[in-house]
Subunit: 274 residues, 2 copies
Amino acid sequence: MAVKKAVKSSRKSKSVVKSSKPVILISNDDGITAPGLRNLVEVMKTIGEVVVVAPDSPQSAMGHAITINKPLRLDKVDVFPGVLSYQCSGTPADCVKLAVNKVLHRKPDLLVSGINHGSNSSINVIYSGTMSAAMEGAIEGIPSIGFSLCNFSLDSDFTAAKHYVKIIAKNILKIGLQEGTLLNVNFPYLPLSKIKGIKICRQANAKWKEEFDERMDPNKRKYYWLTGEFINNDKGEDTDEWALSKGYVSIVPVHFDLTAHHAILHLNSVKWNG
Amino acid sequence: MAVKKAVKSSRKSKSVVKSSKPVILISNDDGITAPGLRNLVEVMKTIGEVVVVAPDSPQSAMGHAITINKPLRLDKVDVFPGVLSYQCSGTPADCVKLAVNKVLHRKPDLLVSGINHGSNSSINVIYSGTMSAAMEGAIEGIPSIGFSLCNFSLDSDFTAAKHYVKIIAKNILKIGLQEGTLLNVNFPYLPLSKIKGIKICRQANAKWKEEFDERMDPNKRKYYWLTGEFINNDKGEDTDEWALSKGYVSIVPVHFDLTAHHAILHLNSVKWNG
């Protein structure tokens, strides 16, 4: 079932957006000044009425954090010509909640998050602030997509990514997404001519092998810095890691029902109640 | 397939734990001083060799955040008599990573997180720091369980919860967990005599309807405080919300493969590559 309800969400009179074009909410986790966000705004302006609500500072690896123990700030900023934009003191998920409740006063027709500087494929989806904004959108019933480029540099070339962002966003505006699902899109860092196309994938069974760099501060107190090596043990040719390694854009449909249905039988083998 | 590998993980010589009893790592998100943690330590001491690595301050609603942009502190503390304990400046997921890499130097036989002050049933699993510690354990191949009591008060009575924690932990030490899965356990806030038993459940399709309390600070600048109302639209009698409302302890098996496999067909209906 396509989420037509969300796509056709009611436009309350107090909404700030009066456009007849699709209303597109943009957020990210690298913060309001990140080049990936600017590139995403540039593409989305060509297909809809854009509103930006993004963190006022980088929020990478924030997972699905929300701010409940302190107040949030939301300030209008003038960073993208002709685009209503706000910076927020909270997490990516906070940005989405505030955008819907306090800026748009309605659900947007589409939520896009990113473009993240760095991959959010496979297990990275769990730690990702970019995907957290998209997941919050999906929880609220908004068709939502997280975009990430497999390159960490702030000087990355987003040309190829922008080409595919437009194709994907236009298609999702047309077909919607199944209820309770969102998309995790990753772009290989290749020139447009070298990208082979788009693959619908599953999340690869990969993980980080952590190391902690142990250091001494100037006061001779120990501290640790997280580092790690990415390990993909998944040999499948239907995973996001496989697709990216072969030069494809990977799209993984994601959901927020974390139930491991296949494990219920195993657990019911225990006589829990004597 | 039970995670026998994890349960029988190799004991490297530099491990701090020399016990022949099962080694149990405990973390939480309410911080090292939370009563829920103290109660969990008390129970787990009766079935294994306990090591605690918990945040040095409350980390509620941290989702699966990890700390990559600043250093982490890890300090030995003396809060639980006879129990090796550390406080960490990071998130619950950081605590688990540091515990395995820098304290235990091996995988524990079991990881338990909590007991959280407040429910982590249904959609709350997404925002939960308690469940994030357990999820990090599962990613590392450790049988992992998050425990939460459906009461926010710091003065909560944990008697009934402790009774069931022991039953559940002992059973999981015996049967293991299926690869890539962990448990989300919630206790109704009832006296032991009123609890009907344990139910294996699926995550209810429920959500928060957010509101933001809009206030003015002493400098006349606006700020927002997140509030909300919990809405359960799921009529199923196999959900965690249903079980808790009927006086059962709910156990939901959870996994970190977020792929919405059922959505792949729908997405493949698009001619992505022209």
